[in-house]
């Protein structure tokens, strides 16, 4: 066991940041960076796609619906390959692994987020939108002030689920040689040779920690909402 502690002692920095500062950023830091960038960019795109999905205009609705169906019907690995091999030949721009992976993640997650957001919006009673419009609000203002604040409250648990998936999905960067934490770990394992179980256990625990933290957060949000509703129901009984 002391041998494995030595491995940790030697490689912990490599595990955390890759070759940085002597080379490109990698390891856990890159995983976190990739996941956060993907979330930050996928969310607004997801909202846009959701609006397009419920748009009254077919020209807008159809292409986005097709995109959503295609993305939902293909594994992320395929999307990554497309972004890696197909995109450069179309655009003529050779993107590095980070951007390739980011593009794939953003498209993939935006399609899923769009479905969550669409369901959240359409799950509200129609009267909310009608009433806001009757007061004189335009469509987008009614969305922003009346519909979305309510819809997002209902969507939160599903959104957090999707965020958790995104963290795990970054590990597929391995396949195109992106030096995120899974890739770095496999390199460490190749060099050390004798502790594969322990090394991958550490990797697993790292993902678990990240995702568990987020899922506890989602659980807490759900509980808080449940409690609030229970309190409201109790108050209503009292009246």
């Amino acid at each position: 066991m002391s041998g494995f502690l030595e491995v940790i002692d030697t490689y912990w920095l490599y595990f955390l940041v890759g070759q940085y500062p002597n080379g490109p950023l990698g390891g856990l830091a890159l995983t976190l960076l990739l996941a956060s960038c993907a979330l930050v960019m996928a969310m607004p795109l997801g909202i846009l796609l959701a609006f397009a999905r419920i748009s009254p205009w077919r020209v807008v609705r159809w292409p986005v619906s097709i995109l959503v169906f295609v993305v939902r019907g293909t594994p992320l690995l395929m999307v990554v390959f497309w972004a890696y091999f197909f995109l450069p030949s179309v655009t003529g721009v050779k993107t590095n692994q980070f951007w390739t992976m980011l593009i794939a993640l953003v498209i993939f997650d935006a399609a899923y987020l769009a479905e969550i957001i669409r369901a959240g919006i359409q799950g509200l009673p129609k009267g909310q939108m009608e009433c806001a419009r009757s007061l004189g609000f335009g469509y987008f203002r009614a969305m922003r002030l009346v519909v979305l604040p309510q819809a997002i409250r209902h969507m939160l648990p599903s959104l957090v689920n999707q965020f958790i998936s995104t963290i795990k999905e970054t590990s597929l960067g391995y396949i195109i040689g992106l030096a995120e934490v899974s890739f770095i770990t496999s390199q460490i394992n190749t060099q050390v040779m004798v502790y594969p179980a322990q090394i991958y256990l550490v990797l697993g625990l790292t993902y678990l920690l990240l995702c568990f933290g987020l899922s506890r957060f989602a659980y807490w949000l759900e509980r808080r909402r449940g409690k609030k509703q229970a309190a409201i129901a109790a108050r209503k009984e009292a009246i």
Partner: protein, 247 residues
Amino acid sequence: MIEFESVNKWYDKYHALVDVTETVARGEVVVVCGPSGSGKSTLIRTINRLEPIQTGHIRVNGQDIHDKSIDLNAFRSGIGFVFQQFNLFPHLSALENCTLAPLHLRGLSARAAREKALSLLDRVGLAHKADAMPEALSGGQQQRVAIARALAMEPPLMLFDEPTSSLDPEMVGEVLLVMRDLAKDGMTMVCVTHEMGFAREVADRILFMDAGKVLERATPDDFFNRPQHPRAAQFLADIRTPFARAV
């Protein structure tokens, strides 16, 4: 104030409004009644363009509401609409429900909007519930807040679409009282309602509808005591003695 001119509306093949020609004068209180599915709600919802029509014209204050040049949002903000399901915004308090539109659409300062909302909540007897969330209010209270919210835009015209139909019987009165006071203050009102007591006491005129047509237009006295159309007479007989036909 409102003119319908040969208005027709279809839901697919279903003819929901049949050649409706009608006027509502300023300051008038018109009650629309009739059996379920007769087109009452459809009619009232066409007035602020919640429902499109296929043929005919609707004019409000002389302006054709389907005119391309009309600013739909500005037009709608001048008409108060009260829904059967209240439709309070559940994420906002009673007060915030009443200040939302004046703040964003009239450009009122936060303080002015608040003061106005409080005075309106006071008018519907709910000043003490200003900070309550809608879920914590009873149905009758929610509907009264909804009326205050509509009034906050100072509309010269109020539309009520079955405002008491989803209320427990004991709460109907409090909402009708608020509506009666509004009528007394000279508000122009169109009310779709099954509350015949309200119609009798408050309405200037009653429109009776069936199968998308306005079959009878009369003063409450004439309508209740001397209905002209046989369908109206039948309707009145049915609501007076609900079991007569079943037995």
